[in-house]
Symmetry: C2
C-alpha cells in the first residue's frame, strides 16, 4: 500500500500513528493486570489528589460525570480505590487503597519498559526532545500582560 504525500505531511496524522503504536503496546502490557491506559491515568490522578470527587476526576480526564462513574466503579470493584464520605453529603472522596499502590508500582515498571521499547530508535537526547515538544503541542496561550485593559 503506497502512502499519500499529503497525508504524511499532516502533523495530526503522524501524531495519530505514533500514538497508536504506543497505546497498542501499553494496552498489551496492562491487559493482564486488568487495567487500561485510561484506568491507570485515573488511578494516578486519584493518588496525586487524595479525596477528590468524581466530577473533578472526569474533568481532568476530559470525560463527563457519567463516564467517570463507570471508571470509578471499575477501579473500586477491583479494590484499587474506594469512595469515602466527602466534604458534604453529596460528594464522594476518592482514595487509593494499599492494593492500588501495589498494582501501580508493578505496572509503572512495565510502562517504562514499554516506553523504552517504543523509543528504541531515538537517542536519549531525542527522547528528551520529544517529551519537551509534546508538551508544547496545543494552541498559543492567550497573552494576559499586566497592563492589559480587558
Amino acid at each position: 500500500m503506497k502512502q499519500d504525500d499529503d497525508l504524511e505531511n499532516i502533523l495530526g496524522y503522524q501524531m495519530q500513528r505514533a500514538f497508536q503504536i504506543m497505546t497498542e503496546d501499553a494496552r498489551r502490557v496492562l491487559e493482564p493486570h486488568g487495567l487500561t491506559p485510561a484506568k491507570l491515568t485515573a488511578l494516578m490522578l486519584i493518588r496525586a489528589n487524595p479525596g477528590c470527587d468524581q466530577t473533578a476526576l472526569g474533568l481532568a480526564l476530559s470525560i463527563n460525570r457519567s463516564s467517570a462513574m463507570k471508571l470509578v466503579n471499575g477501579l473500586a470493584a477491583r479494590g484499587l480505590i474506594e469512595r469515602r464520605p466527602g466534604r458534604n453529603l453529596r460528594t464522594n472522596a476518592l482514595h487509593m487503597l494499599a492494593h492500588g499502590e501495589e498494582q501501580l508500582a508493578g505496572v509503572l515498571t512495565l510502562l517504562h519498559d514499554s516506553d523504552r521499547r517504543m523509543s528504541a530508535r531515538m537517542t536519549d537526547a531525542e527522547q528528551r526532545s520529544l517529551f519537551a515538544l509534546l508538551r508544547k503541542v496545543g494552541p498559543a496561550r492567550t497573552r494576559r500582560p499586566k497592563d492589559s485593559t480587558d
Copy 2:
C-alpha cells in the same frame, strides 16, 4: 487538580495528551464536512492507491475487513468514492470520485490550519523536529544484514 509526577514522565501519556489536543481540533474542523480523521485517512489512501481493495485498506488502517466495510460504505454513500469491479469477481476496486477530490482539497487547507494552530508554540525548526521524532516512534527494526543466515 494536581498532576502526578510519575504520570507526567510516561512518554505514552504525553503522547496521548498531545494526540487528544490535536484530534479534538481536527474533528471540530472536519465535522461540518461530514468527515472524521479516520474517514479522511481512508480517502487519502484510496487516492494514493486507486483500485485497491477493502481488505488492503483495512490493513493499512489497522482495522479488520468488517470495519473497513462500514468505512467504505460511509465514503461511498457520500459520493466521495465508488466500488468498481476488481481484478476478479470477489474483489472491489476502490476509486476516488471527482466529488472526493473536491472535498479533499478543501479540508486539506483546513487541516493545515489546524496543524499550525496546534503547533503555534513551536518554532519552525521545532515543528520539523517533532515530525522527525514522531516518525521514529516504534520498536527497533529487526536487522537483516545481507550475510544473515536466518
